[in-house]
Every structure is written in structure tokens, then in C-alpha cells.
Amino acid sequence: MADGSLGLWTVPLAVLGGAIRVSTPFLFVSLGECITERSGRINLGLEGTLVMGAMSAYGISYLSGSPWLGVLAAGITGAMLGALHAGICSLPRVNDIAVGIALMLFGTGLAFYLGKPLIEPTAARLPAIDFGWWSDVPQVRAALRINVLFLIGIALAPILYWAFKTTRWGLLIRTAGESSDAARAMGYSVLAIRLRATMVGGFLSGIGGSFLSLFYPGSWNEGLSSGQGITAVALVIFARWDPMLCLWASLAFGGAAALGPALQSVGVTSGYHLFNAAPYILTLAIMIITCSPKRTLTGAPAELSITR
């Protein structure tokens, strides 16, 4: 293969690179939402959390010069928004879906407000590890420049799978999600379990947002996230609340999202916007195929409001 003349091979390569690069926010948000939903609550506000995470990561990285401090700040911001969601939801007769919509608006609004002065400056970005050193082809090298966060995310999926299955915390979260009465009978506070689960979910989503502003696309602007957060929430349903399936689904969605830019790079420009909508169309199609009006989804936490 002579370099530079890859022809149509550019497309699958770019999709592979995209699957690795674009999937990371999907992965973190979906794993976070997986924890929250397993505890019996849905947080639709993760779209706002993602944008707030991106903004605070960029701001802290710019002020401190350390991108990892930015990642931490994004996580803490996300956890705080998660605590807000859980706090309001623990009031009687408050609908968790509506609170999610409210926090989606609040999070994006607050991020745009506080992020106004951050559009101009450039912040220190996260480093990447070059896994493509063995290749001479620039496209391959570009596709294999992998961020550490992606590796953490990949490691996190099996850890969560294991934790849900075997640890005390995993069991508690699942109990709260399957039957709040059972958890209460065991002497645990369901609200406290859900508060922690939502905070952890927000923490991970915030980190997903930091990836957007600190690695790819790697800057802060108001069009940074266009529905990745909400797609990731839908993705959890598609993945049947299984962290390992969340991983594969995120990779598939990353690839789908990279399809538009990849085709554009080889000169296929018509339908660019439709290809950009591929993740949403894919989500909708998958939900149509996997859902059924007659039975609740297998693996769905019984306390979850959208499946009852």
C-alpha cells in the first residue's frame, strides 16, 4: 500500500478511527447512565451534564494548565448535577423524566453562560498515545492515536459488569432498581442509593464531556455536543442495561457518527447532514426493533419509569 493513495480504503479506516475517537463520550455517558438506571431512575439530563463537563474541563485546563485537573473538575461538576437531579427526584411526586429535561436545559444554559469567555483561548489538551507507530500510512497512524480516557472507558466496562454481578455495591444498586421494597426491607435507604448512583453517573458523564473539549474535537464552543448525551441514554436501553453491551454499542455509534465526515473526505458530499444524523437514526431503528408493546424489555430494572 503506497501512502496517500488509499482510495476508498480511507472510509473504513476513518470509520475505525471514528469508532475509537467519537465513541468515548458515548461510552462514558452510557456507562454512567447504566449505573443510574440500574438503581431505578432515569437521568435524561446527561446531555446538560456532558456540556457542563466539557465547559468546566476546558476552563480548568486553561486556568491550571493541567488537562487532567480539567477532567477531574468535569467529573465533580457532573456529580454535582447528578446530586441536584437525585435531590429533586427524591421529593414526593416529582417525575424523574421531567427533571431530566429541566436539567438538560439548565446544564446547557449554564455552560454557555459560564463558557462565554472560553471560546477564544486555547487550553492544554489531553495527550494521546500513538499506537500506529508500526505503520507508514498516515491515515492508519491518525486512526490509532488513542486517548487514555478511551482505554479507561474500555477497562471500566468489564469492571462495572463484574461489580454489578459480584460486589455488595452492585447488588445494592440492582436491588434498589428491581424492588425498592426489598431494599427498604433490608434496611437500606433507596433514596440514598439512588443519590449515589446518579452522582456516579453524572461523574462519568462529566468525564465524557471533558473528552469532547480536551481531545476530540478539542475546543470549547456552543455546538460541541449535539445530542450525544441523549443518544447515549437511548443507547443504554438498546444495550439492555449491560455494561459490556454498552461498550460495543458505543463503538458502533462512534463508527456511525464518523461515517459522514469520512465520506466527505473522499468527496461524497451529498447527504452529509443525513450521514451526520446516522447515530440518531440508528438509535431510533434499534429501539423500534428491540422494543415491544407486549412485554417489558429483558434486563430492564423493574423500578424504571420508562419501562413500567
Binding site: 411526586r93 421531567a98 436545559l105 407486549k294
Partner: protein
């Protein structure tokens, strides 16, 4: 406020409360006004605090907000112009809410309605303005209506959660709009901002005489009143509320729940579709990405604040239209970013939802019925 109802001081504080029949009759209504009102005041106070953190005077903030929203005839017109699409997109959330559905895809129905209306207008250049305008309204209703009906049908026949599907449809609708506007329907003359061709000055619906407020406001008011009559004074609306309250009971008494859901979703989407049509025929004159101005998302907030009551939507839409109208003045006079309106909307939404916990718990309104 949550002190016991036995407290005599409270009863004296509210003069008409001396008559127990008054509270029995109007207690719930007072609650519906008092609690969202208190939530609104709480949200404004919180926003004032937030702005004070950035070194701005909250009193200035409230003054300029009032000035920008309701202070002058000019700002009133600005407010009403913004309220018009909000009434219509709020109906898109409020109507399905009667059936217990949470639809948040008003923005998508608005875009598709605008796109359909524009297409129809461009397809019939020979027709007289009145014919074109009528066709645009129909196309807007059908386009937006079918868009939300899709979400309703997916829920009813496939069990797909309508909240998530309607939101995904917003992004898909935006992509379809961008695709057509930059491709098949693009006006070659629109270089910087890809747009469709203009529908023509003769086909614009214009302003209500004596004002700068366009006729979209009339569309909104008519739609809100019609929805109110439909929901509260017809058999259809009654069955919809029965189905929303208890779907099994509705099925047992033989109501066609599928038909109810699809019809309500069509009407809901149709309302948002008219909002799109109005934005084209009264403001933009063409379809382009400017239409995605967030009216659909603010409409969700309006519907929740109005507790999904079609009549209450009108004053709430005017209030929120006022808040967004004051954004420009806040930017110029106080140097606040344009996103401050979004922050305030988010805070209001959070407060309104949290205030749901208060219903039936306010001491002096409780326990008499």
C-alpha cells in the same frame, strides 16, 4: 407555609378564607396559581443571586428584565411576537400530556412544519396569496402532525419510549432540513447562509393591524382556545383524560386508545407545525437553519409551568416570551451573555418541578374538601 391549618393567624391573613366554602370551591385553583407563582419568584430570586455572584446588581437585572419585556409598547410587541410560537409549541407537549405522554419533540415538528409549508408555497407560484397561505397552514399541520404521530405510533405499536424517540426526531428533523436546504431546495443566490427560495412578499401573512405583532399570535390564541374546548368540553377530550388517568379503565369501557393517542399526537404536532409555518410566513420568509431557534424547547417549559392546561399556556407563554425578549436589553445594559435567558429558563424549570411536591401540603388550603 406548611404550618398546620389550625393556626388562626393564617386564616386571618387571607381574608376570604373566613368562608370555608370559598376554599372548598377554589382551594385547588388557588393552589394551581400560588405554587407555580411561588416557584417563579423563587427562580427569579435565585437567578438574581447568581447574577450578583458576577458582580451585577440584581435590582438592575429585574428592572431591565421588566423594561425589556413589558416596559414599553415596543417591548410588549416583541414579547407577544415571541409568545406566539411558544403557545403553539407548548401545546405540542401539553396535549399528549393529557394522555400521560411526555413528548419533547416540538422543535422537530416546528422544523418539519416549516419545511412542508415552504415546499407547498414554492410549488404553487401561480396561486393567489390566500390559497397559498391556506395550503401552507394545511401543510404545516400535516407535516408537524405526522412527525409527532410517528413518535406516538412507535410508542403504541412498538413500545418505544415517546420521550426519547421524539427528542431523537428533533435531531433527525434538523438533519433533513439541513440536507434539503443545502441540497435539493437550495436557492443558488443564498451563499453564506444556505436557504430555500423566498415564498414571496405577497404570500407573507403580515402583522395584526396597528401593531408589529404578526398574525401568528392569533393562530396561537385560537389553537389554545380550541385545545381547551377540545380537552375540557368534548367527549373526545373527556375520553382522552380518562385514558390519561387510567389506561386500563379506558380499555375496559371500550375507548379506542390507539386512535386517541394518534389523534392527540397529530394535533400536538400540528400545533408545532403551525408555529413553523408562522415563522416562515411571518418572520423569515424562507426556510433555513435559523428556524431552529429553540422555541420547541422553551415550549416544553411553558407547558410544564402551565401544568398542561391549554388556557394557562397563554399567560405563561407571554411571560416566557417576555423573558426571552428582555435578553437583548440584558446583554446591552448589563453585559450579560445571551445564554443568561437559558440559565433563567433552566432555573425556573427546576423550581417548578420541585414545587410539584408542595401540592396538597399547604396548610391553609388543605383538608376542607
Amino acid at each position: 407555609m406548611t404550618t398546620g391549618s389550625a393556626d388562626p393567624v393564617e386564616a386571618v391573613g387571607v381574608a376570604p378564607a373566613a368562608d370555608p366554602g370559598f376554599l372548598q370551591r377554589y382551594g385547588a385553583t388557588i393552589e394551581y396559581i400560588l405554587i407555580p407563582g411561588a416557584a417563579l419568584v423563587g427562580a427569579l430570586a435565585t437567578f438574581g443571586l447568581f447574577v450578583a455572584l458576577f458582580g451585577k446588581n440584581p435590582l438592575d437585572l429585574y428592572f431591565y428584565m421588566y423594561q425589556g419585556a413589558f416596559g414599553t409598547w415596543f417591548s410588549w410587541q416583541n414579547t407577544l411576537t415571541r409568545a406566539a410560537p411558544l403557545i403553539l409549541t407548548a401545546l405540542c407537549t401539553a396535549l399528549p400530556a393529557q394522555l400521560g405522554m411526555v413528548i419533547i419533540g416540538g422543535e422537530g415538528a416546528l422544523l418539519i412544519g416549516a419545511l412542508s409549508a415552504t415546499s407547498v408555497a414554492l410549488a404553487m407560484p401561480w396561486a393567489s396569496p390566500l390559497v397559498v397561505q391556506t395550503a401552507m397552514v394545511c401543510a404545516g399541520v400535516i407535516g408537524g402532525g405526522l412527525w409527532i404521530t410517528l413518535a406516538g405510533a412507535l410508542r403504541q405499536y412498538r413500545g418505544v419510549n415517546e420521550t426519547i424517540s421524539s427528542l431523537l426526531l428533533v435531531y433527525i428533523g434538523l438533519a433533513v432540513l439541513n440536507h434539503l436546504v443545502e441540497g435539493a431546495m437550495r436557492d443558488p443566490a443564498s451563499l453564506n447562509k444556505p436557504s430555500t427560495r423566498e415564498i414571496g412578499a405577497a404570500n407573507m401573512i403580515g402583522s395584526i393591524p396597528g401593531t408589529d405583532v404578526h398574525w401568528g399570535l392569533a393562530f396561537g390564541l385560537v389553537a389554545a382556545f380550541a385545545s381547551y374546548v377540545l380537552i375540557y368540553h368534548t367527549v373526545f377530550g373527556f375520553s382522552a383524560r380518562v385514558a390519561g388517568g387510567n389506561i386500563r379503565a379506558a380499555k375496559i369501557v371500550g375507548l379506542g386508545v390507539n386512535k386517541l393517542i394518534l389523534t392527540i399526537c397529530f394535533l400536538a404536532g400540528g400545533a408545532a407545525g403551525i408555529a413553523g409555518m408562522v415563522e416562515v410566513a411571518a418572520v423569515q420568509g424562507r426556510t433555513n437553519a435559523n428556524l431552529a431557534a429553540g422555541y420547541g424547547f422553551t415550549g416544553i417549559l411553558v407547558a410544564f409551568l402551565a401544568r398542561h392546561n391549554p388556557l394557562a399556556i397563554i399567560p405563561v407563554a407571554i411571560l416566557l416570551g417576555g423573558i426571552s425578549a428582555s435578553g437583548g436589553l440584558l446583554q446591552r445594559r448589563l453585559g450579560l451573555p445571551d445564554a443568561s435567558v437559558l440559565v433563567l429558563q433552566g432555573i425556573i424549570f427546576v423550581f417548578v418541578l420541585a414545587s410539584d411536591a408542595l401540592y396538597g401540603r399547604i396548610g391553609f388550603l388543605k383538608g376542607k374538601s
